[in-house]
């Protein structure tokens, strides 16, 4: 039971650390949005093109954070969920 507790707590802590990546991604995407607003202010006719390019670029750079989310979900669904049943039975 001790080993299962160690595994589950280690996965919990590392999931928290892995998802800190979202902070940097949010910073980058906010910076890009600011640049897009600046560009629209400088040339309002290009608003459609600027908005489409910004959305496209942000969706691609968001994929960096999505990779860490995918790893966290993989860990939780394949390791923690099967072990949790056994852990709860052992706890009584």
């Amino acid at each position: 039971m001790m080993e299962i507790a160690i595994i589950i707590s280690a996965i919990a802590i590392s999931s928290g650390i892995a998802l800190l990546v979202g902070g940097a991604v949010g910073l980058g995407e906010g910076y890009v949005a600011g640049k897009a607003v600046e560009a629209i202010g400088r040339q309002p006719e290009a608003e459609n093109a600027i908005r489409t390019t910004m959305i496209l670029g942000q969706a691609i750079s968001e994929s960096g954070a999505i990779y860490s989310l995918a790893v966290v979900l993989l860990m939780i669904f394949t390791i923690v969920l099967p072990l949790l049943g056994r852990f709860m039975d052992l706890l009584g």
Binding site: L56, I60, E62, S63, I66, Y67, A70, L73, T78
Partner: protein, 214 residues
């Protein structure tokens, strides 16, 4: 993560993603047959929407790949419509997005990869394709191989992570606030992000095929 088997066809297990893939295929095929039965020279009604969609995608593809890119417009349009429909259908309670399953997104990314290499072999010959792995320097061959694998993986994982993660977030939200409040979040995550991810996957597919063609 085990797939949820819904029913069996003569001992072939059908998971819920597979069932909804079939449903979307039926909707797209039957819909496109019914909507294109009486095409007229001067478009009316639904034909407007169809023409706008086809011309939009054709314009984007030809912009990137030149006139030779017209061959790929049906594939790109099929990919785009399939991903768009399957992302949005996840909003319906009780329905499962096929793209929330890594199998579907990996299959789509592999299709794009095979089409890219196949197009390069078909249009430029096997020797030029084989030499392409050793460009720009011969000792970069293993890095080129790893690059191909990571391209397929990132292409599939982006779509899978976005849709599956959105589904998890909405599931957690349903546990906390089951009734009115999830609706704006459903609109954001389900419909808007689903449409954006479909567009991103399609644009990247066009870019990947174009990289093989020049």
């Amino acid at each position: 993560m085990e797939p949820n088997i819904v029913f069996y066809i003569y001992s072939f297990p059908v998971s819920d993603s597979l069932l909804f893939t079939w449903i979307i295929m039926a909707v797209l095929s039957i819909g496109s047959y019914l909507l294109t039965r009486n095409l007229e020279k001067v478009p009316r009604g639904v034909q407007h929407i169809l023409e706008v969609t086809v011309e939009g995608i054709e314009k984007i593809v030809v912009n990137d790949m030149g006139q030779g890119g017209k061959v790929f417009v049906p594939l790109i349009m099929a990919i785009f419509l399939f991903i768009l429909f399957s992302n949005v259908i996840g909003v319906v309670p009780g329905a499962v997005s096929p793209t929330a399953d890594l199998s579907t997104t990996l299959a789509l990314a592999l299709v794009v990869w095979v089409v890219g290499h196949g197009a390069e072999i078909y249009y430029k010959g096997v020797k030029s394709w084989a030499k392409g792995f050793f460009e720009p320097y011969w000792f970069l061959f293993p890095i080129n191989l790893v690059g191909e694998i990571s391209q397929v993986l990132s292409h599939s994982f982006r779509l899978y992570g976005n849709i599956f993660g959105g589904g998890i977030l909405l599931g957690v939200l349903y546990m906390v606030v089951p009734y009115v409040a999830p609706v704006p979040l459903l609109a954001w995550f389900g419909v808007l992000m689903g449409a954006i991810q479909a567009a991103v996957f399609t644009m990247l597919a066009i870019a990947y095929i174009q990289m093989h063609m020049d």
